[in-house]
């Protein structure tokens, strides 16, 4: 899903990207008119007014509970709930975002460590490879997210609440992509290169540190980007059944209970910004590590 040909993009792609984004926003505004027009006309009928086309458009972009809020409404809500509110306030999106982010990072950290350890075990043990690897792949076809509520409720009934159950779901979701990617990466060196290590009389550990580990880095970072996104999704879904206490998932659920569409969309954008920042952070980390390992371009 993530190609790393960022050299090819860069400045040259800025104009096309901006064009696509502008088109998306235009479609969004048009969609807001289409979806909110009925409600605006009904309101006008009740007040015995007839709306001209331009009035109708303005009405549809400024409703309290629109079916589809216009982009500027979401932007205003985002500004209100991040900058205007105190961070400690329960209505601050920064507070909810932090709740989600901390769980995501914990789950991602555990998941990545577990995934790498499992991949090393699979590459070095034939038994693990033969018996566990098929299950790791099969488990990808199972909708793990769907059992998130059960995990939350079950852990709750044995007295675990809040942070840990959500982190377990995030761990679970993020460790599979890392395992699969890392196994591929550790097996990336060709037979020729492995033979070369042997002729240099390299020990198993040296072969791992000098050849297998460096050549697995591109695979590792690609799967880490997928894993961090999966970890965020897992955390958000994990926040749903807890009764909408805190976190971006809770904001989504509360918004859908009370028909607060603007709140739903702003929570969605909060999640999108978090996802972007997390993937960006992994990308920066990747650049530092690859440069340190001597992959300088």
């Amino acid at each position: 899903m993530f190609d790393d040909n960022q050299e090819g993009s860069g400045m040259r792609s800025i104009v096309p990207i901006l064009t696509v984004l502008a088109a998306l926003i235009a479609i969004w505004y048009a969609g807001a008119v289409a979806l909110n027009a009925d409600w605006a006309r009904q309101q006008a009928e009740r007040q015995d007014r007839t709306l001209t086309t331009s009035e109708l458009i303005v009405e549809t972009w400024n409703q309290d509970r629109p079916r589809l809020p216009a982009p500027h409404q979401v932007a205003v809500e985002l500004w209100d709930t991040t900058v205007e509110k105190k961070i400690t306030s329960k209505r601050s999106l920064v507070y909810h975002g932090w709740v989600t982010l901390s769980v995501t990072l914990a789950g991602f950290g555990f998941g990545a460590a577990l995934g790498i350890a499992l991949a090393v075990a699979i590459v070095y043990s034939r038994t693990m490879d033969r018996s566990v690897m098929p299950w790791v792949i099969a488990s990808q076809t199972i909708p793990i997210l769907a059992i998130a509520p059960m995990i939350i409720v079950v852990l709750n009934s044995i007295g675990m609440q809040g942070f840990i159950p959500k982190a377990i779901i995030a761990t679970y979701l993020s460790f599979f992509p890392v395992t699969v990617g890392m196994v591929k990466g550790l097996r990336a060196p060709s037979a020729m290169q492995l033979d070369q290590m042997k002729t240099w009389n390299a020990s198993g550990l040296q072969g791992f540190l000098r050849l297998r580990l460096p050549s697995s880095m591109p695979y590792l970072f690609t799967s880490l980007k997928i894993a961090v996104a999966a970890s965020l999704v897992g955390t958000i879904i994990g926040e749903l059944p807890t009764g909408a206490v805190a976190g971006l998932g809770a904001r989504l659920l509360a918004g859908s209970y009370y028909g607060q569409t603007v709140q739903i969309w702003s929570a969605l954008f909060g999640a999108a910004v978090l996802a972007a920042l997390l993937i960006l952070a992994v990308g920066v980390f990747e650049r530092i590590v690859t440069r340190h390992m001597g992959f300088g371009r």
């Binding site: 993530f2 096309p16 990207i17 098929p134 076809t141 659920l253 969605l268 996802a275």
Partner: protein
Amino acid sequence: MSFAVIFAALMIWFGGWWMNARLARIRGGRGAGALAPILFGVTVLVLWELLVRGLGVPGAILPPPSAIGQAFAANLPTLWADFIQTFVKGALSGYVIGCSVAFAMALAVDRSDFLKRGLLPVGNFMAALPIIGMAPIFVMWFGFGWQSKAAVVAVMCFFPMLVNTVQGLAAADRMQADLMRTYAASPLQTLMKLKLPAAGPFIFNGLKICTTLALIGAIVAEFFGSPTLGMGFRISTQVGRLALDMVWAVILVAALAGSAFYGVVTLLERAATFWHPSQRGR
């Protein structure tokens, strides 16, 4: 009593592992390749059964596999209705809509280098977003029925499919494209004879990613509102009643459906891209 059971469970674990270690040493042989994971799975199931019974874990926390099997067998009609509602109506229709729209759009985008450069990064970014969060919005727009689930699934599948197809259509190398030009091939001929075949592995990669997303989207969307059937509805209501054997039975259905769906797409891939290096040499 319980110590004996735990001891037996440990023995079975080591026994299974030892047999797998022996199996792993036998090289080649198709039978041994399939046997090791099956043996591992059976070992885990027996271990689960014995530990849950031996430690007296209450059914409200983790039911033993035998209880899950009973719940599965006893509720077949309910589970079948849930399966039709969630998988066939919700996931499958959304999957077909999302993937075909993305495919058509990729074909259109492929003609313009400008659009390709703009759409690929945006699409890549969108594919990584928690799109599943749109579920409450779609439930609000399209109601509690399967239509809202299909919409969630369609949007979830759209971006991974779009990105993979666009990348695939660009996969044919320069030389081959030039060769098509020297043959005076029309754009349609180039598409049919060169670009689409070259894109095959990428397209199927997208289709495979989407199988998992489709099932997840359809089930999770039901958490935000559904008629009184469906796999997501069953999971959330039975969790509330702490009837976990039934929840696990639904998960079993989801796992079977998900694996079968993935398997079918893999078979299609093998039939369509049999010539590709990744499909040969096995």
